[in-house]
């Protein structure tokens, strides 16, 4: 088996890297692939929380790299999906505990027996980011439809190209269709036009994402939710499937719909 390494990065913090990494991992694993998610945000780990595996950590990434445990011992098996594993970051060390060549070695070992390796990159453009993209076969850049996030994404895309890991693919997260319609938010088209890289997913803003993140239940497990389906579609596109774009307008609140029925519309 020769697994593929996908790194999720963004430059700016808080745009949804960890959420995307967790959900992409969950979606790929639930299609029957063997997936390892690696949290490379050493010192500020949280992929374990989002996946709901925090209480099971014994060994972490730094232990595996420094040889205090075997790689397989640092892999925590998910409780819901048998083919999903997490290698958590160390919380008590910093980014310099691991080097880009350590990451390449680790991933080369993992490639032998898994299908996909998903690396959650830290924010920023320093050592942690370089660690995360060093072993990448493909890079997904996550951004929000906000000028500051898009600016950082542009910088990151340039750095990914410079490290010859490009072309990166784009995930636009937290899009609010209603605001775009009012002209108060950048549209997906605006973002793609500026960044000029292939788009691989658009995820709408959804309160359920925050709820599921807090509960450690990735939203990709919830098929009723539009954001969850968007993440599943990203996973299918990563696998090379042609997937039609979701109509993000279809989600309307119950009250909106009721209102339309009462007023004779809809």
């Amino acid at each position: 088996m020769s697994g593929k390494v996908i790194t999720i990065t963004s430059g700016k913090g808080g745009v949804g890297k960890t959420t995307t990494a967790a959900n992409l991992g969950v979606a790929l694993a639930s299609m029957g692939n063997k997936v390892v998610c690696i949290d490379s945000d050493i010192g500020l780990r949280n992929l374990d929380v989002v996946l709901g595996l925090e209480n099971r950590i014994v060994y972490d990434l730094v232990d595996a790299v420094e040889g205090r445990c075997r790689v397989s011992q640092a892999m925590i098996r998910d409780k819901r999906i048998e083919t999903l594993y997490l290698i958590p970051a160390a919380q008590t060390r910093d980014k310099n505990a691991v080097s880009p060549s350590d990451m390449i070695k680790l991933c080369d070992t993992l490639r032998e027996d898994v299908d996909w390796i998903i690396i959650d990159s830290p924010a920023g453009i320093e050592r942690g980011f370089r660690n995360a993209i060093a072993p990448a076969d493909e890079v997904l850049v996550v951004t929000n439809p906000e000028v500051s996030a898009v600016r950082d994404a542009d910088r990151i895309i340039g750095l990914v190209e410079a490290e010859e890991r490009g072309p990166a693919k784009l995930v636009i997260n937290r899009l609010k269709t209603a605001m775009v319609k009012r002209g108060d938010m950048l549209s997906a088209e605006d973002v793609v036009e500026l960044l000029a890289i292939p788009l691989i997913g658009i995820v709408p803003e959804d309160e359920n994402v925050i709820i599921s993140t807090n509960q450690g239940q990735p939203i990709a497990l919830n098929e009723k939710c539009l954001a969850g389906r968007s993440f599943v579609n990203i996973a299918r596109r990563v696998k090379g499937e042609e997937v039609p774009w979701l109509d993000l307008n279809e989600k309307e609140g119950l009250f909106n719909r009721l209102g339309k029925i009462i007023s004779g519309g809809g």
Partner: protein, 220 residues
């Protein structure tokens, strides 16, 4: 290979030694003289070597593993300087000491003209080009990217970043783009901030007229 201590760190001058050979020799030196190099900031003068991101990035990572930080690159090659810049290294056009004579002789067949550099790619945020001469970009210049030229700047694409033309005082320099919507324009000592608001993109040329920079539609 010449190695000496300076106040900014250890300066290594590869002169025009072949890159692979020089790299091996440098790594040997660092391994053998670990105490001398440990924790050092390394300034590398690569002479006329043309280096890509893979070359410099690899060296940077090897040095890092030896506890040596690659901090700055001196080079005569604009490609190498661009690479250094992309990797976030300080890039300096010339060695701090005496300039070695350039070995490239101009060919007789070259038409008389002015120096220009052609950038055949989109310039993303954080990308900076400083050039003694004119700059031509085939692609967009995104917000956060910066061009500084002693001559004029031509962008065959959207200009959204920052540009300084005539940076050494040439008031006849111009800036033109297919869509001229920069954050800021500078020509010689004048500064202009583009008016906000949507306009239909059209080719425009900016130049100094009297006391200020004006933009006009670009007509032949």
């Amino acid at each position: 290979m010449e190695i000496k201590g300076t106040k900014d760190g250890i300066l290594v001058n590869l002169e025009d030694q072949d890159w692979l050979e020089a790299k091996g020799e440098l790594i040997d030196q660092i391994t053998n003289r670990y105490e001398f190099f440990q924790g050092a900031q390394l300034i590398l003068d690569v002479g006329n070597n043309v280096l890509r991101a893979k070359d410099l990035g690899e060296l940077r990572d090897i040095l890092f593993a030896q506890d040596v930080t690659l901090s700055a690159i001196h080079s005569h090659s604009i490609v190498t300087l661009e690479t250094a810049q992309l990797l976030g290294l300080k890039s300096l056009p010339d060695s701090p000491q005496e300039k070695p004579a350039r070995k490239l002789k101009p060919l007789d067949t070259v038409l008389p003209g002015e120096n220009a550099v052609m950038i055949h790619r989109t310039m993303r945020s954080g990308f900076k080009v400083a050039y003694h001469g004119h700059v031509v970009v085939l692609g967009d210049v995104n917000p956060g990217a910066e061009i500084i030229a002693s001559g004029s700047v031509v962008v065959w694409g959207r200009l959204l970043g920052t540009v300084h033309a005539g940076a050494e005082g040439d008031e006849t320099a111009v800036i033109c783009a297919l869509d001229l919507s920069p954050l800021q324009l500078r020509i010689a000592t004048k500064v202009a901030i583009a008016p906000k608001g949507d306009k239909d993109p059209q080719p425009e040329v900016a130049s100094i007229n009297g006391d200020q920079i004006i933009a006009e539609s670009w007509q032949m």
